[in-house]
């Protein structure tokens, strides 16, 4: 967050202002306003804190727990959650500690969420800015292509991809990212179209800036807000898709695991050992819940149009 707190225009002019020893009154930038609004949103703040706790637990946790993720404790197979044997979340069918498995799975789920979102971000922003900036014929053709893609049953293609090329974690990233860029492209294009008509872009063009430079220096920084909102809303979607695939047995491969894969394991044994299902399910759902609320809060904060 901290990087984006300064006003977008001022950032490029920082050096200039310092050279002049320009010491303006500290005003409230748009980002300050947005942050203020976000922190007033109770649901978003609670979600932010909860998510922070989950992320830290998942990242640091595996080092603190005395078990390894693939260690099989033969004396404690199907152990329910217990304080006495040290398996606080219980163990699974081959005696692996579920607490550490849940945390390791969380690492993968969150990683997929981040990387795949990044993939969709790069494709979507590049596609959207080009279509929006060049407009006309190019725009029409490019957006028609997006329309066509929209009509395809994408989940089926991802399943196909996973089946065809094998279960490979890199492929999971790319496949999921590659299907999620459509919304991003549309939103970015719309934003670029309206930015293009502003005076400062016109000025840059008049000064002889190349299209690439105009997009990079002037349009991209101003897309920040929308893109950030969209990223927070994409991450949960992506995590959901990954766990969907893993649930079908098409996602990450043993011994690696993810929340979706753990839920799948748990669903097999739920009659006799419900805890195997319940703990990963709680972590997965809670994370998605928090991310959705944060995305919502961020959208209200950055795009305050419908604040009554």
């Amino acid at each position: 967050m901290s990087k984006q707190q300064q006003p977008v225009d001022a950032r490029t002019d920082d050096a200039f202002a310092q050279a002049l020893e320009f010491d303006a009154v500290k005003g409230r930038s748009l980002w300050d306003d947005a942050r203020h609004r976000l922190f007033k949103n109770r649901a978003a703040v609670v979600s932010l804190v909860t998510l922070g706790i989950i992320v830290i637990t998942v990242i640091v946790g595996p080092w603190l727990v005395p078990w390894d993720a693939d260690f099989t404790d033969w004396d404690n197979i199907y152990s329910p959650p217990s304080l006495s044997n040290g398996h606080y979340f219980g163990t699974d069918a081959v005696g692996r500690d579920l607490l550490v498995r849940t945390m390791e799975g969380g690492r993968i789920s969150l990683l997929v969420g981040l990387v795949a979102t990044l993939v969709s971000l790069v494709i979507g922003v590049a596609y959207g800015t080009i279509a929006g900036y060049f407009g006309g014929r190019i725009d029409q053709v490019m957006m028609r292509i997006v329309d066509i893609f929209y009509a395809l049953p994408f989940m089926f293609f991802v399943i196909l991809l996973m089946v065809v090329f094998g279960r490979n974690i890199i492929l999971v990233f790319v496949a999921i990212g590659a299907i999620n860029w459509l919304d991003m492209a549309r939103i970015v294009r719309g934003q670029t179209l309206s930015l293009k008509r502003t005076e400062f872009i016109e000025a840059a063009v008049t000064c002889g800036a190349t299209p690439f430079n105009v997009i990079r220096r002037h349009i991209l920084p101003n897309l920040m807000g929308v893109v950030m909102v969209y990223i927070t809303l994409t991450i949960p979607q992506v995590i959901l898709v990954e766990s969907f695939l893993s649930f079908l047995g098409l996602g990450v491969q043993e011994p690696m695991t993810s929340w979706g894969a753990l839920v799948n394991d748990g669903a097999q044994d739920m009659e006799s050992a419900a805890w195997i299902l319940v703990f990963p399910a709680i972590f997965l759902s809670l994370t998605l819940y928090c991310l959705n609320y944060i995305g919502d809060g961020l959208r209200d904060a950055i795009d305050p149009r419908d604040q009554g």
Binding site: R144, D147, I148, A151, L152, P153, F154, M155, F156, F157, I159, L160, L161, V163, V164, F165, G166, P236, L240, S243, F244, F247, L248, G260, V263, N264, G266, A267, M270, E271, A274, L277, A281, L284, S285, L288, Y289, N292, Y293, D296, D306
Partner: protein, 305 residues
């Protein structure tokens, strides 16, 4: 209107062609064929099998042969279920998938619109926050998490409903339909709330109220139609979501629908079956989007055609 409809229809054709092409070539580059087995067949027999399914022809020729077949709605024989054609498998599974999907669609629209309208009318009250909190839960908890939990609670512990399997009676449908409908319901409720609030703040609603119309009449006669527009345009994605969701739901509840055939086919490299399902569902989604577009244009006076 006719011109608009024809234009929309014309766009469906390249979409369809792309769908078939991508699916066809993707599955052909897959390593491993449908007849790979531990025991290698004598070369003559292998040759015969390949010739029978035209796998010995150049890929391009296979592609055009397949296109021709698809135009005649013939998806060919299944590679795995030896005695079945893909058409038979789809015909077998579709009524099951359709009944669950259609019921879930109906349920989620009725519930979603109702809940959304209610929340909008009580904006920023406890009721609103409560309903939207639950809706957010519905969006956030994946249905493959809800399904096992429901089975555990309702089927296993309480014993009220069967935990899976399929017969044509309502008891087998309740849990799958509810699970499938849940995320869509939640999404529609949020969408409906937002658009209803927008509409209720507009001038023509103020006029309607100023005329002294009762709140119910204002909602029913004036606010409902414009507020429904975003929900209508969500119907296309909703249908796609339901179809995708049905893959998981059919697997969890052991329902013999198209989704379960698809996953089985994908695992077994049953080329024709997988292609058939992807194209079938693709056509379904495209057709559905087309109808939704028409309904939207018909409802929305601002669209010119």
């Amino acid at each position: 209107m006719l011109k608009y409809a024809l234009n929309r229809l014309a766009w469906a054709i390249p979409t369809l062609l792309l769908l078939i092409t991508v699916a066809f070539f993707m599955i052909r580059v897959a390593p491993g064929g449908p007849f790979d087995s531990e025991k290698s067949l004598p070369p003559e027999i292998e040759q015969n099998i390949k010739a029978k399914y035209h796998l010995d022809e150049p890929v391009i020729q296979q592609y055009f042969r397949y296109l021709g077949q698809v135009l005649r709605f013939d998806f060919g024989p299944s590679f795995q279920y030896r005695d079945w054609t893909v058409n038979q498998l789809i015909a077998d599974g579709f009524p099951v998938s359709l009944s669950i999907g259609a019921l879930a669609m109906l349920l989620s629209f009725v519930l979603g619109i109702g809940i959304g309208t209610m929340a909008a009318l009580r904006q920023n009250t406890g009721l609103d926050h409560g309903l939207m909190g639950v809706a957010m839960l519905g969006i956030s908890i994946p249905n493959f998490v809800i399904a096992p939990l429901l089975i555990l609670a309702v089927a296993i512990n309480l014993g009220w409903l069967p935990s899976g399997g399929w017969e044509w009676n309502w008891r087998n449908m309740v849990l799958p339909v509810i699970t499938l409908a849940l995320p869509v319901t939640a999404y529609i409720a949020r969408l409906m709330r937002g658009s209803m609030i927008d509409v209720l703040n507009s001038d023509f609603i103020r006029t309607a109220r100023a005329k002294g119309l009762s709140e119910i009449t204002v909602i029913r006669r004036h606010a409902m139609k414009p507020a429904l527009l975003p929900v209508i345009s969500y119907m296309g994605p909703a249908a796609a979501g339901l179809i995708t969701g049905s893959v998981v739901i059919e697997r969890i509840f052991a329902i013999p629908g198209i989704g379960s055939y698809f996953v089985q086919g994908a695992m077994n490299r049953d080329y024709t079956l997988v292609m058939g399902v992807v194209i079938f569902y693709g056509v379904l989604i495209i057709a559905f989007n087309f109808i939704v577009d028409l309904i939207y244009a018909w409802l929305n006076p601002r669209i010119q055609y």
